[in-house]
Amino acid sequence: MTHHDQSLVTAPLLSVENLQAWYGKSHILHGVTLTVGQGEIVSLLGRNGAGRSTLLKSIMGAVTTKGAVRLSGRDLAGQRPHKIAHAGIGYVPESRDIFPDLTVRENLILGQKPGGAGLWSMEDIFDLFPVLRTRADTRAGVLSGGEQQMLTICRTLIGDPDLIMIDEPTEGLAPKMVAAVGQLLERIAARGVSILLVEQKLVIALDISHRLYVMGHGEIVFEGTPQALLDAPEVRAEWLEV
């Protein structure tokens, strides 16, 4: 089977083509093309300022863009964020943005889409993270950093996205929590939800990703499997190592 045939058989869930993005007059993304398949964990690597977070925000419709963003073939470019969320893309920002004055349960309710439960019910979420059940009626603002990170991922998950984009979920977490986040991501993918991950910790990304992209100066500079990246020390030296 040739590479071309394979892409026909498993059409990607998300396909981004030649995406350009601007913050005001600064040109941040210079034509990014990538795909994420069904149930696939794909990581975006690169140094700070490479444009990874901007790429996620651009896909989410929060930045002015040019180019195509397709989810299951449907073009989403130029749509407003809430429409893109309804189309099936979930986004967990680096800033986490929990609603600190609302309870854990209220935070989760805000993640739910009208029209009943889908793949993830409130109970599923609580089973995934029992600590969220015990703290369901606690103000989210008093949770620990790790618990807040779990809450923000779960809040997006409960809205039943086909693809969840997560920006730096392990940032500032204790090693034990880092491992827990990694396990959570694998469990999410095991249910058929695709993950596009921005991750600074190379070990985690290599461990859980099916495929990786490396970004530099607003472009994709490498694409391949974790093994391919391990076999390419020159890529790591030029684009990842400090």
Binding site: A85, P93, L110, K113
Partner: protein
Amino acid sequence: MGIEVVTFSVVNSILYGMLLFLLASGLTLIFSMMGVLNFAHASFFMVGAYFGFEISRRVGFFPALVLAPVAVGLLGALVERFGLRRVHKFGHLGELLFTFGLAFVIEEAVQMIWGRSPQDFQVPAALNFTAFTLFGTGYPAFRLFMLVVAVAVFAALALLLARTRIGLIVKASLTHPEMVSMLGHDVPLVFMSVFGVGSALAGLAGVIAGPVLVTQPSMAAALGPILFVIVVVGGLGSLAGAFVASLLIGFIQTFAVAINLKVADVFGLIGVTQPPAAFGALLSDIWNVSVAQVGPVIPYLLLVAMLMFRPMGLFGKRA
């Protein structure tokens, strides 16, 4: 001051405070969302009074009580959708100037349509009786009705915000609008709705206050500054703060009028009965100033003191 004056002043303070809260609640919600004080908020109050007057004349007061706020709410939603939202990209200063200008436009429009003189907006006959008599003085039923309406709206608003999904969306949008929209909620629609509901509450306050206060073009300008005092003293963006500050201002303004105490009386307590002659006429003028005379200034003194010593307000989280 007799017990009867105190009793009636307390009731009037609560009534005035709740009326102010009908306005301040909408203003503070709008402020929390947009980060901009809506200078035209009191204008919606005035438009509510005029709409209420016109609708009352034709179909009666009680239909007006519902229809006028709805009409004002729609007007507010249109102002947000086609005015503020377009100005938004020019920043807060642009939005501030827009609402400032809008207040003048509304006042001029009201004068063009209804003229400068007060309208004959009367208390509806069904409520024009004495509710109760205390210490030989009657209390008008309409004032009691105003109190009931204000408290009912306050309770409904509190329930809506605390117990419903819509309330959660509004509360979360106040602090994290971007995140809320990325969870799939149409935040611009939420903003427009809150602006509309806030305007409708101001309109409702106008309908129930119209027959008691005077329905005239200057009524917006008379009330506007007091609203800002409430929102700042309560803490920008805090509903609980707006509630406490509304009652506080209600009490201050009502009791200031009722207290007939002069500067001279205060000094009289420590045995000084004449102003020191050395300061001449200047001091003798101050000597005869009564609390009732400085009453209108007290809220602004409170505002200045609050900004100096606690700029985040009573319940606010940011300065």
